[in-house]
Amino acid sequence: MNQDQLLLKLKEIITPYVQNEEALKDLSEDTDFIKDLEINSANLVDVVLDVEDEFDIVIENEDMEKMLNVKASLAVIKEKLNA
């Protein structure tokens, strides 16, 4: 899966939890889940659990703490997929 495909998958996963839909339209690597997309912390957990299911990977606490924006999340997913 290349970077664009990963980003598309991630976008699908986060969409149900996004409160700021305008920011979703301009989704980029710099998009912050909480500040830009206004996802709350409980739904951030749901995003991570959905990422685990979608990519069949296990996210640890320290990974979760990093996954606050698109760029960091893609990095964690890629690292797990290649592990």
Binding site: S41, A42, V45, V48
Partner: protein
Amino acid sequence: MKTKKITKEEILNLLPYKRPFLFVDEILTLNEEQIVAQYTFRQDEFFYEGHFVDSPITPGVILTECMAQIGLASLGLYLIRDSVKNKAPDVAMTSNEVNYYKLVLPGEKVVVTAIKEYFRFNKLKSKVEMVNDSGTLVAKGFVSGMVIKY
């Protein structure tokens, strides 16, 4: 990893609620996967005076609160017992989805069973079910909550 032993009474004492907003009397079953606990709605609960005028009925939000105090706060305290000293952490309910099936009148006892769906990254989601004294389903659904600060 060695886990701390904690009794059902200790969990009750740790709950960050008191009357008139405590809706757990006794924990009957408690383990890593589920909790069963009961509460009897007193004749003089504060909300009966206004809900409804001349016709006291337990509000649905209170039934949900009761299920959350059992299925989230009580079960959650048990799950994080290793990090709890003598005070419950700050917690918050983050979502619920509940259907109601039967009225609960003043004086009625309810029994709540909550089964853990998951507890990950400080978020607990539980499947909850409330029955009345004759075993009839009163309310059923899902509640979620988070530890905000230990």
